[in-house]
């Protein structure tokens, strides 16, 4: 069970940090109420006034973000292969090539279908 002692200590530190922060800010901090503090997602700033109903804003960047994540993960998979490519041999080479080809198809699709155009 000794191996779990650091985990328990970690939990204790985490819990203690949370309690100390909340209690300390309750005791020492100034208490000034305003409308923003009663918002469901309070961040201290009153939100800019908006028209009635949900506001719409373009979320086109999500395509770029998704592409970034895909290639980010590709790198994560390539690094262990590169480190051990001598052990994995020609089979590992073809496996990784297939993996890259699959991602390339997805990239070609997004590119050709205009996923990378901003407007």
């Amino acid at each position: 069970m000794e191996v779990y002692v650091p985990v328990v200590i970690m939990f204790a530190i985490g819990l203690g940090f949370g309690i100390v922060s909340v209690v300390a800010s309750r005791i020492t901090g100034p208490h000034r109420r305003n409308r923003a503090k009663y918002d469901p997602y309070e961040c201290g700033i009153e939100p800019a006034p908006s028209t009635a109903g949900p506001t719409k804003f373009p979320v086109k960047f999500y395509l770029t973000a998704m592409l970034f994540i895909v290639f980010d993960i590709e790198i994560i998979f390539l690094v262990p292969w590169a480190v051990h490519h001598d052990v994995l041999g020609i089979f590992g080479f073809w496996a990784v090539l297939m993996f890259i080809a699959a991602l390339f198809v997805a990239y070609a699709y997004e590119w050709r279908r205009g996923g990378l155009d901003w407007d």
């Binding site: 719409k56 979320v59 052990v87 994995l88 041999g89 089979f91 590992g92 699959a102 198809v105 997805a106 070609a108 699709y109 590119w111 050709r112 279908r113």
Partner: protein, 515 residues
């Protein structure tokens, strides 16, 4: 250690999945290169050809009973090609061909039932613009990815491969649910609901897998079965692991109390996608359940028997009673699919005695339900499907052919003799009796009797009521949807009148490797 050198791979055994996945990637390249006007025929041809080739590859594999990967002659559990796995793969390929033809239907709605972007704000300018365009053809690669995942799911011999396959079949389906061209908002709601609850179920699966790994020291199903007898770990790990994995699989199978998503998603998703879910996902989910419980958890049957029995009873009774109160044809079929999940669970609980009959039930139910949803997509109020049951009144007088077809399908779902519904239920319950599950069989028969009521109510509505003056029109199907309906009805009657050949096949294919 050079493990890669000693690795033997049964490429022919993997061929069905490789073909389907390769065709899915090919479909993406078609989207990227072929001009929009020519995409539909190319995509449909590619998808149907790939699924047909996959089916042939499965047939060529028949009789195999080994792992697809082996090191120095010792099989690895990751992909297991055995009787049930191959039979379900073949069933999936055939059902998927039928579903793809339904997806390709373009005569009932001009330009097809699908849009290209699911996440566009409903009724915004961009959304109205994409509704005017011809339907998206990305649905075909997405369907192929999902079907490939299902094929992997029913042959996965360890929990890790099974999880990868589970995600592979789920993610395209979440997206497909949100692509309806009409009633965008409810379609998006369906996609989001399915995604959130499905992601939650997947999390349960991973946690359960960790528990079972803690218990058995392996994720291999056969190894977990051995550990059920010999593991020195606390039994609590096993209970928690089984419970959590069962939550995830029963969610996909739509069993009470994990069924909440089913009616909403079935209603909101485009009808061809609903057909795909009701037929193919059902096959895959129960294929997975059969394998996990028969191969992985048979030795601990006493630990989970009671809880699974309770779930099966709740599913059979709950699905049937809720089906009685439905006024929307798609919701009615959704609750009927829940009740049918209950009957199939009886087959899972009966373990080895009922594997073949459960698979027969899956095949019979799949064909009937695809054809039923195909008919639903033909009956239309102007642009939209007339899903409210009252609108179907007197359809027999206006379009007798459609009404006859739908009557046959309803009678099959109600389980009347000379339809596949009867032979499937009869053989399944007979097998359950052999496994000493008398109580479950009684509940199943009572539930079937309750469930027959809403179906017969629809039949009465079709034939004995007067049509309203503004009754919905029945669109003549194109050869695509026509083939779907014809194939579904033909299989329904054929499996009802002459079930012998298929029952023989499932009998021979009913033994899992490593049980």
């Amino acid at each position: 250690m050079n493990e890669a050198q000693g690795l033997q791979i049964d490429w022919a055994g993997l061929a069905p999945m490789i073909i389907v996945f390769a065709a899915a990637f090919g479909g993406l390249l078609v989207e990227a290169t072929v001009p929009r006007a020519r995409r539909l025929p190319v995509q449909v041809a590619l998808a149907v050809a790939a699924l047909a080739a996959a089916f042939i590859a499965v047939v060529l594999n028949s009789g195999k009973n080994a792992a697809a990967f082996a090191i120095e002659g010792t099989g690895l559990g990751s992909v297991v090609l055995d009787g049930p796995g191959l039979f379900l793969q073949g069933t999936l390929a055939i059902l998927a061909i039928v579903a793809v033809l339904l997806l390709a239907e373009r005569r009932t709605t001009r330009g097809g039932d699908f849009v290209a972007e699911a996440a566009v704000v409903a009724d915004s300018a961009a959304d109205r613009a994409q509704q005017r365009e011809d339907g998206a053809t990305e649905i075909f690669p997405l369907t192929l990815f999902a079907v490939g995942g299902m094929m992997m799911f029913v042959t996965a011999g360890d929990l890790l491969t099974m999880f990868v396959a589970l995600e592979m079949l789920s993610l395209p389906l979440y997206l497909l649910c949100g692509l309806a061209k009409r009633r965008r908002l409810i379609s998006q709601e369906a996609a989001l609901k399915y995604f959130l609850l499905g992601a939650f179920a997947s999390a349960f699966y991973v946690y359960g897998m960790a528990m079972l790994y803690g218990f058995a020291g392996t994720v291999d199903l056969a190894g977990i079965n051995r550990a059920g007898v010999s593991s020195g770990q606390p039994r609590m790990f096993l209970y928690l692991g089984v419970a959590m994995i069962a939550v995830a699989l029963l969610f996909k199978a739509a069993a009470v109390p994990f069924h909440m998503w089913t009616p909403d998603v079935y209603t909101g998703a485009p009808t061809p996608v609903t057909a795909l879910m009701a037929a193919c996902v059902k096959v895959a989910a129960f294929g997975g359940l059969l394998r996990v419980f028969n191969v992985g958890l048979a030795s601990s049957a006493w630990d989970w028997h009671l809880i699974l029995t309770i779930i099966a009873v709740a599913t059979m009774i709950g699905g049937a009673i809720f089906a009685v109160t439905q006024r929307n044809i798609k919701r009615l079929l959704a609750y009927s699919s829940i009740a049918n999940a209950g009957y199939l669970l009886v087959g899972v609980i009966a373990l080895g005695d009922a594997v073949g009959q459960t698979m027969f039930y899956l095949a019979a139910y799949g064909f009937t339900v695809i054809a039923a949803f195909a008919v639903v997509s033909l009956v239309r109020d102007g642009d939209e499907e007339a899903t409210h049951l009252a609108r179907w009144a007197g359809l027999g007088k206006k379009s007798p052919a459609t009404a006859v077809v739908f009557t046959v399908l309803m009678l099959a779902l109600a389980g009347l003799p000379f339809t596949s519904g009867f032979t499937a239920k009869f053989s399944l319950f007979a097998a359950a009796l052999q496994a000493d599950e008398l109580g479950l069989v009684i509940v199943g028969v009572v539930s079937s009797a309750i469930l027959a009521f809403p179906y017969l109510k629809v039949v009465v509505l079709l034939w004995l009521n007067e049509p309203a003056p503004d009754a919905p029109t029945v669109n003549l199907p194109s050869p695509m949807a026509g083939t779907v309906v014809a194939a579904g009805v033909a299989a329904t009657i054929l499996l009802g009148v002459a079930p012998g050949p298929l029952l023989d096949i499932v009998d021979q294919a009913s033994v899992f490797l490593n049980t």
